[in-house]
């Protein structure tokens, strides 16, 4: 199925920033900054142009867990760090999952006030975005009673989000060509009898994140009925300056964040 190009008639407009390879905590700090920005605009009733920002990242190996942490989370964390990964407890929904190179991680910081104020709706739309994306690669993926996107009994994309005053953080992680053996050290999302897979595996194609980003944005634009534009340089600069002031990034990361323009095609610039 061919996904039609995004209609320019959608009245909503979401910004996108592909930051590339970024440390988990730094990406979270950027989400918090954006969430604050959109939240404040909401409370000042600045309804226009406050639809949201999508952050697209790739992480070094990291395990994260959600608000439903078990009592032995400290020992689980130690065990996972010993494997060479980072480990973080977060405030998102969902249980333990893994992020690593070759996995498309998307954090939509959306203002649900301008979409549909239901978490159930939001999660469903994220799932449908990935399902449509898979179709464009010839893969039949679907939903199940467990959140996420599945191909038969194997999970292709994990979802875990947080909502505060209608602003969302965290998001989804789509396995593209990442090393799936990292998942063998956890019960992914707490579901013991199901496996994991990647888009490369199920499509039989050698795919990388670069192949998937633009189809993802097209699918998102279609499902969420919004235009997508590059996050303006001024906003990126403000975020980088904020992170610098709080001494949260190195100068190498600063340069990467300000100059990185990878993989976004002309229609989103």
């Amino acid at each position: 199925m061919k996904i039609p190009p995004p209609s320019q008639n959608f009245h909503r407009s979401v910004s996108v920033w592909f930051v590339g390879f970024l440390q988990y905590q730094t990406a979270y700090r950027i989400q918090k900054y954006l969430a604050n920005l959109h939240g404040m605009a909401n409370s000042l009733n600045e309804g226009q142009s406050n639809d949201g920002t999508i952050l697209i990242v790739e992480h070094a190996p990291v395990y994260t867990t959600g608000i439903r942490t078990s009592n032995d989370v400290e020992s689980e964390g130690k065990k996972l760090k010993a494997l060479g990964a980072e480990f973080y407890r977060t405030n998102r929904g969902g249980l333990t999952t893994f992020h690593g190179p070759g996995q498309l991680v998307v954090y939509p910081v959306l203002n649900l006030k301008n979409f549909n104020k239901s978490m159930k709706w939001y999660i469903c739309k994220l799932e449908e975005t990935i399902i449509q994306l898979c179709k464009s690669f010839g893969v039949e993926a679907g939903q199940s009673s467990n959140t996420g996107v599945w191909v038969k009994n194997e999970k292709l994309c994990a979802i875990g989000v947080h909502g505060s005053r209608y602003i969302t953080t965290h998001g989804l992680a789509l396995n593209v060509n990442n090393d799936l053996t990292w998942f063998s050290h956890i019960v992914p999302c707490g579901i013991p009898d199901k496996g994991v897979t990647s888009l490369s595996q199920v499509s039989g194609k050698q795919l990388t994140i670069a192949n998937v980003i633009n189809p993802f944005l097209e699918s998102f634009s279609h499902e969420f009925e919004c235009q997508i534009k590059m996050l303006p340089f001024k906003v990126r600069e403000d975020i980088v300056n904020h992170l610098k002031k709080e001494r949260l990034i190195s100068s190498a990361t600063e340069e990467q964040l300000l100059k990185n323009k990878a993989f976004i095609s002309k229609q989103y610039s």
Partner: protein, 167 residues
């Protein structure tokens, strides 16, 4: 609301505390008794625009989320509730409800000190979906500023808010 109705249902046995009310109780039929009781309870319940409700008896408020909220969340699988003795200001983040891999923050509708959290809901979060105004209550709080209730929405105001904000 549940407490009110069950007391009047027990009136037939008339516990000693209610004996002095006997003539008044027997002159009302069960239907109007219930109506009187529920109107009273609704008048006590106030709402926030973030879809929390608070039902104040004396200085203790019982807090929960509305029927609209539980529908919008989906099946609640986990409730993170504030601990007893924690001090809250109005609109402070005080917990979260998790459903379908989404954690939605809870806000305290009033300032005060938490006296109790609902352990039944911690065990069985689905109570929030099944009974958002009764068994699904989340926590109780001793109000420090009763006047904050004046700024909250009553039932008509909350229904209006749902209509106006395009639900």
């Amino acid at each position: 609301m549940a407490v009110c109705v069950s007391v009047f249902h027990k009136c037939r046995r008339l516990p000693s505390t209610l004996l002095n009310l006997r003539p008044l109780v027997l002159s009302l039929n069960a239907q109007s008794t219930r109506t009187f009781c529920s109107t009273n309870a609704l008048a006590a319940r106030k709402y926030t625009e973030q879809h929390e409700w608070v039902d104040v008896q004396g200085t203790i408020g019982t807090v929960g989320v509305t029927d609209y909220a539980q529908g919008a969340l989906g099946d609640v699988v986990f409730a993170q509730l504030p601990e007893p003795d924690s001090e809250l200001n109005q609109m402070d983040d005080c917990g979260a409800l998790e459903s379908v891999k989404a954690a939605s923050e809870l806000y305290s509708p009033v300032s005060g000190t938490v006296t109790e959290k609902n352990k039944d809901v911690e065990e069985t979060p689905a109570l929030i979906n099944q009974s958002p105004y009764e068994k699904g209550w989340l926590f109780k709080i001793k109000l420090s500023k009763l006047e904050e209730l004046d700024a909250l929405l009553d039932e008509a105001g909350y229904e209006n808010h749902l209509k106006n904000t395009g639900h």
